[in-house]
C-alpha cells in the first residue's frame, strides 16, 4: 500500500476548490462550475468505495496509515482508518456530491464561492474522520467552522447573521477547552498520537478533567441538551445544501469523537460520567421531541428531531456494549441519510413556495404524488419503522440500554413514540388534509435531478434497513476490540 489513498481523499476536494477558484467564469458558465465540483466529489466518492473494498474487516488495527513528520518532535501528520471511521468517510463522500447536485437556482449568487466552500468543507470533514493525531484532529475539527460560517452567513435566510455567529461562537467556545486538554495530554504522556495513546493510556488521575474538556467540545457539536440551541437556528437559516452537510456529517463528528477519544482514551472517566450522559441523553430525547411536536417551521422541526436522534446516539455509545455502539454508528449513518433527505425535501417545497411553515401546505398529495411518496419513506425512516435503517439503530441502542439501565431505556422508548407522533403529524399536515391554499395548485412535482438525489438517499435507507450486515461487519471487530480494551482498563485500574 504505497499509494496514499487517505491523503488523496483529503486533498482531492481541496484541489477541486483551488481549480474552481482560478476558473474565472462568473455568470454564464454556472453549469460548468457545477460539473467541475461534481466531478471532483464523485471521484472522491469512488475512491472511498475503493477504500472500503480494500478495507480488511477482520482486524481492528488502523489501516492505510500514513505517518509523516509535520512539526519536528511535536506533531506528526498521521492518518488511518479502522472500522469505526471508514463508514463516516463514505457517508461524507456520498453526501457531498448529492449536495452539489442539489444546488440549483436558489443559489444563483456567487455560485463559484459556494461550491468552493462545500468542497473545502468536504476536505475538513474527511480529515476529521481519518486523523490519528489529536492536534491534526483538532485542526480539521475547528477549520470546518470557517466554511460553514460563510455558508450560513452568505447564502442563508433572513436571520443568517445571528445564526452564523451563534454557530461559530458556541462551537469555538466548546472547542478551546479541548485544545487545553490536547496540549495537557501532550505534556502528560509526551505524545498526541492516538495509536500510541491507546497503548500507553492516560493516567487515571487526570482523566476526569480531560474527559470533561473533550466533552465540552463534543457536547456542543453533537449537540446535547442544554447546549443544542445553536442547531435549530443554524439549520433554519442555512441554505439547503448547508443544512444537509450540517445535519448529515458535522453532527457526526462529535459522535465519532465520543467513541474514538472519550471511550478510547479515558475509559475510567467515561465510566464515572456515564450517568451524566444518560441523563442528558434522555432529557434530549424527550424534551426536544416535545419541542419538535410544537414547531410550525418544517426545518426547525427536523432540526429538533436531529437533537433527539443524536440523544439516542450518545445513549448508545455510553452503554459501552457491542450492540449499543453498533447501534449508535448505524443510527448516525442512518440519520445522516434520512435527515439529509428530509432537509432536501423541505428545500424542494421551499424552492417552489418560498415558505417553510407547515400551515402553508396541506393536501398536496394529489398535486405532487412523487414527492409525497419519497417524503413518506423518509418520514417513516426518521421515526424508525422496521425495514428502514432508522429502526436498526434505535432497536440496537434500546436493546443495549435495557440491559444496562431499565429506567433510562423506558424513558428513551417513550421518546420513540413521541418521535413517531411529530413525524407523522408533520406528514399529515403537509401532505394530506384539505387543500386550503390555492397557490399550491401551481406546484410542480419533482424534477429529474431531485428524484435522483432523493432516490439515492432512499435506496441505502431501505437496503440497510433490511440488510444491515455490510455495516455491522465493517464495524464489528473494531468495536469489540474497543470494548475489550475499555473493560480491561476499568478492571486493571480501579
Amino acid at each position: 500500500m504505497n499509494f496514499p489513498i487517505l491523503s488523496s481523499l483529503i486533498l482531492l476536494p481541496l484541489i477541486g476548490a483551488v481549480f474552481l477558484f482560478f476558473t474565472k467564469s462568473r455568470n454564464e458558465n454556472n453549469i460548468t462550475l457545477k460539473y467541475v465540483a461534481l466531478f471532483t466529489s464523485l471521484v472522491n466518492f469512488f475512491l472511498s468505495i475503493y477504500l472500503w473494498f480494500l478495507f480488511d474487516q477482520t482486524t481492528s488495527e488502523f489501516q492505510f496509515v500514513e505517518d509523516r513528520i509535520w512539526i519536528e518532535g511535536l506533531i506528526n501528520y498521521k492518518v488511518g482508518v479502522d472500522g469505526i471511521s471508514i463508514l463516516f468517510i463514505i457517508l461524507t463522500t456520498f453526501i457531498t456530491p448529492l449536495c452539489i447536485i442539489s444546488v440549483n437556482n436558489s443559489i444563483s449568487d456567487r455560485l463559484n464561492e459556494f461550491l468552493i466552500a462545500i468542497l473545502i468543507m468536504e476536505t475538513f470533514m474527511i480529515g476529521v474522520f481519518c486523523s490519528l493525531d489529536l492536534v491534526v484532529f483538532y485542526l480539521f475539527f475547528e477549520a470546518g467552522l470557517i466554511p460553514m460560517f460563510l455558508i450560513i452567513g452568505i447564502w442563508g435566510g433572513s436571520r443568517r447573521v445571528y445564526s452564523a455567529f451563534k454557530f461559530f461562537l458556541f462551537t469555538l467556545l466548546g472547542s478551546v477547552l479541548m485544545l487545553v486538554a490536547i496540549i495537557s495530554i501532550y505534556w502528560i504522556t509526551g505524545t498526541t498520537d492516538v495509536v500510541k495513546l491507546y497503548e500507553i493510556g492516560v493516567d487515571t488521575k487526570y482523566q476526569n478533567l480531560l474527559w470533561l474538556a473533550f466533552f465540552s467540545s463534543f457536547a456542543v457539536k453533537t449537540p446535547m441538551w442544554p447546549v443544542h440551541t445553536w442547531l435549530p437556528d443554524a439549520h433554519v437559516e442555512a441554505p439547503t445544501a448547508g443544512s444537509v452537510l450540517l445535519a448529515a456529517i458535522l453532527l457526526k463528528m462529535a459522535g465519532y469523537g465520543f467513541i474514538r477519544f472519550s471511550l478510547g482514551l479515558f475509559p475510567t472517566a467515561s465510566e464515572v460520567f456515564t450517568p451524566l450522559i444518560y441523563t442528558l441523553s434522555v432529557i434530549a430525547i424527550i424534551f426536544t421531541s416535545l419541542i419538535a411536536l410544537m414547531q410550525e417551521d418544517m426545518k426547525k422541526l427536523i432540526a429538533y428531531s436531529s437533537v433527539a436522534h443524536m440523544g439516542f446516539v450518545t445513549l448508545g455509545i455510553f452503554t459501552i456494549q457491542q450492540q449499543g455502539i453498533e447501534g449508535s454508528i448505524i443510527q448516525m449513518i442512518s440519520h445522516g441519510l434520512v435527515s439529509a433527505a428530509l432537509f432536501l425535501c423541505v428545500g424542494v417545497v421551499y424552492d417552489r413556495m418560498h415558505s417553510r411553515l407547515i400551515n402553508t401546505y396541506g393536501g398536496i398529495v394529489s398535486i405532487v404524488p412523487k414527492y409525497s411518496v419519497l417524503f413518506m419513506i423518509f418520514t417513516l425512516a426518521a421515526l424508525g419503522l422496521p425495514g428502514t435503517s432508522g429502526f436498526v439503530g434505535e432497536f440496537l441502542i434500546l436493546m443495549a440500554a435495557f440491559k444496562d439501565n431499565f429506567l433510562v431505556a423506558v424513558l428513551a422508548s417513550l421518546g420513540v413514540i413521541i418521535g413517531a407522533a411529530y413525524m407523522l403529524w408533520l406528514y399529515k399536515r403537509v401532505i394530506f388534509g384539505k387543500l386550503i391554499n390555492s397557490d399550491l395548485n401551481k406546484m410542480i412535482d419533482l424534477n429529474k435531478s431531485e428524484i435522483f438525489i432523493l432516490s439515492c438517499l432512499a435506496i441505502p435507507t431501505l437496503y440497510f434497513g433490511f440488510y444491515p450486515d455490510p455495516l455491522i461487519n465493517t464495524i464489528e471487530v473494531s468495536i469489540s476490540d474497543l470494548i475489550d480494551n475499555y473493560n480491561f482498563n476499568i478492571v486493571s485500574k480501579p
Binding site: I146, G153, F168, V180, Y186
Partner: protein, 472 residues
C-alpha cells in the same frame, strides 16, 4: 575591540542617517531619492546583520554593555524587515496627504537604530538610551501630519505619557543601581541579594515602563488614541515594529539579571497578560474605527506574547518570539488592506466602510477574511499556530488558569473579527474603491496572506529558526 564588526549594522545605519540628513539639506525635492536610499539601507543592514552576527555564539562588547547573540540578531532582522515593508508601502499614503517629506524615512531609520540598540543592550543605560532614541523619533512620527488636529494630538499625548513612563522606568533603574551597585545585567545577576525588597520595587517600576511601551493593560490608555490619530502608515509602524524591541528588552531584563526573582515578577506578568487579553478582546467589540479596533486587538495580542514570557521558561520565550513574528505578518496584511481602502484621494477607516467589500473587491476581501480568521486564531491559519505554541508552553508550566482565560479571550475576540467579516460578506455593497494600487502594496498583501494561509505546510521552519534562542 576585535569584535567591532558585530556592531557594524548599527554603525552603518547611523552613518547613513547623517548622510541622508545632509543630502536632504543640500538637494531640493530629494524625498523620493531619500525614500529609496533608506529602503536600500534597511535591506543592506538586514543583510549585514544576517551575515555578520547571526550565530549561536554569545558575545559581549564594550565592557559587557552590548550583547550580540542569536536572540538579538534574529530580532534585529525582524525589525529591519518589518520597517522595510512599512516604508515600502507607505509612500502612496504619504503622497495623498502631501506629507511625503525627507524626514519620514530618516525618522524611521533613527527609531530603527534606537530599537537595534535596545535589542542589543545588556546594560540599563544603553537600554535607556536606545529606548529614548526610538521614542523621540516616534513622537515626531505620530504627529507627522501636523496640520491635522488629531495627528498633533496623538503626538502630544504620546509624548506626555511616554515621558511619564520613561521617568518611572528611570526611577526603577536608579533603584536597581542603588541596591546592586551596577547597571550591567550580568553584574547585577551575580551580585544582588534576593532578600532586598528595594530591588523588587525597581523591577516593578521598570516593568511598568516597559508595559507602557508595548501597551499592555493597565498602561494601554494611549494606544487607541495615538493609533487612531497618527497617519495610517505610522500606525502600522507603531503596531508592529516597537513591539519587537520592547519584547526583546522584556526578555533580556527579566531573564538575565532577575531570573532568581521569578516568583516576584511572574505574578505581575500573569496579571498583565490576563488583563491585556481580556480587556483587548472586550473593549474592541464596541469600536467603529478600524484603527482603534486594531489598537485594542494589538493590546490583546501583546497579552498572548506576555503569557509566553510569564512561563519563565525557554520554551515560553521562543513561543513569544514566534507569536510576535506571526503577529507582525498578520498586521502587515491587515494594514495593507486598510491602505487599499481609498477612493478619490480619501482614505476610509471606519468599519462600515468595509460594507459589502466582497462584491466589488473579491480578492481584497478574501485576503482580509483570511487575515481576520488568522488573527482570531482559527486553524489551519498561522494565527492558530502562534497561539498553539504559546499555550503549549503555558500548559507545560501547569499554568492552567492562564491558558483557559487566554483561550476564552480568543472566543470573545473572535466575535469582533467575525463582525468585520460579517460586514464585508453579508452586508450590502457600497461604492467600490480605487483599484490602481501600487505594486508594493499588492505584493505586501499577497505575501502576508500567502504566508498566513500556507504556514501549516511548513510549520517547522519558524520553529527551527527560533529554537536557537537560548537565554536561560
Amino acid at each position: 575591540m576585535s569584535n567591532i564588526e558585530l556592531v557594524f549594522p548599527e554603525i552603518f545605519i547611523s552613518l547613513s542617517i547623517m548622510f541622508l540628513l545632509i543630502l536632504g539639506v543640500f538637494k531640493k525635492n530629494s524625498s523620493k531619492i531619500i525614500q529609496n536610499v533608506s529602503l536600500l539601507i534597511l535591506l543592506i543592514t538586514a543583510v549585514i546583520t544576517f551575515n555578520e552576527t547571526l550565530s549561536d555564539k554569545q558575545i559581549t562588547l564594550f565592557n559587557e554593555s552590548v550583547i550580540i547573540d542569536y536572540l538579538s540578531s534574529f530580532m534585529k532582522i525582524v525589525t529591519l524587515l518589518a520597517a522595510f515593508i512599512v516604508l515600502l508601502i507607505s509612500s502612496n499614503y504619504l503622497r495623498t496627504f502631501k506629507i511625503f517629506k525627507i524626514e519620514y524615512p530618516i525618522l524611521i531609520l533613527s527609531s530603527v537604530l534606537g530599537m537595534m540598540i535596545m535589542i542589543s543592550s545588556n546594560d540599563l543605560i544603553v537600554f535607556y538610551m536606545g529606548l529614548e532614541l526610538q521614542s523621540l523619533a516616534l513622537y515626531v512620527l505620530a504627529s507627522f501630519d501636523r496640520d491635522k488636529l488629531k495627528s498633533s494630538e496623538a503626538g502630544l499625548k504620546y509624548f506626555v505619557l511616554s515621558a511619564l513612563s520613561s521617568g518611572l522606568l528611570l526611577y526603577g533603574c536608579s533603584l536597581i543601581y542603588g541596591f546592586t551597585g551596577s547597571t550591567n545585567f550580568n553584574v547585577i545577576a551575580n551580585q544582588f541579594n534576593t532578600n532586598e525588597y528595594a530591588i523588587t520595587f525597581g523591577i516593578v517600576f521598570v516593568l511598568v515602563g516597559l508595559a507602557f511601551k508595548i501597551s499592555a493593560v493597565p498602561f494601554h490608555m494611549w494606544a487607541p488614541d495615538v493609533y487612531e490619530g497618527s497617519p495610517t502608515s505610522v500606525t502600522l509602524f507603531f503596531t508592529i515594529v516597537p513591539k519587537i524591541a520592547a519584547l526583546t528588552v522584556f526578555i533580556r531584563f527579566l531573564f538575565v539579571p532577575f531570573l532568581n526573582l521569578i516568583e516576584q515578577w511572574q505574578m505581575i506578568l500573569v496579571f498583565l497578560s490576563i488583563a491585556s487579553m481580556l480587556f483587548g478582546a472586550i473593549a474592541a467589540i464596541g469600536q467603529k474605527n478600524l484603527k482603534r479596533l486594531i489598537a485594542y486587538s494589538s493590546i490583546s495580542h501583546v497579552g498572548y506574547a506576555l503569557a509566553g514570557l510569564a512561563t519563565g521558561s525557554n520554551d515560553g520565550i521562543q513561543s513569544s518570539v514566534i507569536y510576535i513574528t506571526i503577529y507582525i505578518i498578520m498586521n502587515l496584511g491587515f494594514f495593507s488592506c486598510l491602505l487599499m481602502m481609498k477612493r478619490n484621494n480619501v482614505y476610509y477607516e471606519q468599519i462600515d466602510d468595509l460594507s459589502g467589500l466582497s462584491k466589488n473587491h473579491p480578492m481584497l476581501s478574501l485576503s482580509l477574511l483570511i487575515i481576520l480568521f488568522s488573527l482570531a486564531g482559527i486553524p489551519p491559519l498561522a494565527g492558530f499556530f502562534a497561539k498553539f505554541y504559546i499555550f503549549k508552553s503555558v500548559i507545560e508550566q501547569s499554568m492552567y488558569f492562564l491558558a483557559i482565560v487566554g483561550l476564552l479571550a480568543t472566543v470573545v475576540a473572535a466575535f469582533y473579527y467575525l463582525r468585520i467579516i460579517k460586514i464585508m460578506y453579508f452586508d450590502k455593497e457600497k461604492e467600490s474603491y480605487d483599484k490602481d494600487h501600487s505594486l508594493w502594496l499588492k505584493f505586501s498583501l499577497t505575501f502576508s496572506t500567502l504566508i498566513i494561509l500556507l504556514y501549516f505546510i511548513f510549520p517547522s521552519q519558524l520553529v527551527d529558526a527560533v529554537s536557537k534562542i537560548n537565554i536561560i
